[in-house]
Symmetry: C2
Amino acid sequence: MALRYAVLAALLEGEASGYELSKRFDVSVANFWSATPQQLYRELDQLEARGLVAAEVVEQERRPNKRVFTLTEAGHEALYAFTAAPARPAAMRDELVVKVQAVDAGDVAAVRAAVAERLQHARAKLALYEQIRKSMLAGGSEEAFLAAAERVGPYLTLLGGRVYERSNIRWCELVLRVLADREHSRRPALSRRATSE
Amino acid sequence: MALRYAVLAALLEGEASGYELSKRFDVSVANFWSATPQQLYRELDQLEARGLVAAEVVEQERRPNKRVFTLTEAGHEALYAFTAAPARPAAMRDELVVKVQAVDAGDVAAVRAAVAERLQHARAKLALYEQIRKSMLAGGSEEAFLAAAERVGPYLTLLGGRVYERSNIRWCELVLRVLADREHSRRPALSRRATSE
DNA sequence: ATATTCATGTAACAAGTTACATGATTAG
DNA sequence: CTAATCATGTAACTTGTTACATGAATAT
């Protein structure tokens, strides 16, 4: 269900083609929802069929034609209704955390590498968010921005991404520290079955 | 794929029935993966068919019989291989964030209420994590625990949950502050169409 | 020359959710 | 006596992922 509204919310930022939306929803950028292009094309078709978005084919000269989508009145209403409905708690699902949970029975070096990679990624994302924030504030203060802005939602979710990545960074650093200490203090490479049987 | 390994990782903590696992994976508690009982029963059947877990029917007197699952050698190997494989980045998917993103075109009061609820939930979870942490440390220091513990994975994911809920709390408080300020400074209830058309 | 970007889609599959069904036991 | 806990499952459905396919334009 929520993908539907994420798409409608994304269209609040302005009309877009499926391709353009797929950028806004790209895992490596998205700070409020992520989805693959395939999900978006399917969802957009359904939204159009239900009349929540309107598609207009824009012919391009040197590019394939594109279908540009806009929110309809019904789409606005559906989005409004969504914000008014109760939200269910977010489910925790992160592969990396499973690896860390299983690290004692796993390949410690590989897990450390995966955490290090996540750390790098989190830092890159944080830097990106800071940049976006700067350009949103356009030289002014946060207070000024919030007082003047028509829309605060995108700014708030941006700050959410910032807070999230920061905590990611803290956790990754902590995990790396602990695993490094472990490797120093424990002589034998931990066998898979060190603790069991 | 990852649910499979999350189940195997959970069984590192000791044998369990489907029902018992469903507690460990309960959304309101899970700090490393969440899943519904139905997913678990299905996954356990598959894992058993592949020989990654072994089921033993335990007959109980005043309770329905239960199937208790344990990791097999093949299960250990599969889990090890999983930790060694590259992880893909976690996708961002949280309904509440979509509501916040759309708050300017939505029911502000309802969104505030939803954020407040999340805040409460995050505080409760944080308190739970602190309690679990305390009982894991068993009166000693973190250093002592890490030096002595056979398994550090569960402790690290617990800290992950702690860091995550803390950032959740910070964000929720921030969002509530901003939305409250907004309501004070803006006289007219924001119509859904205030900025468009 | 080759890779990347723009632009859309189909098909098959894997994962996750919801509703329903059963039935005994224990705690309030 | 009612609700919660223990314990397992089926079926239908919705979401999300992966692989494949097409094809031109631009940047390296």
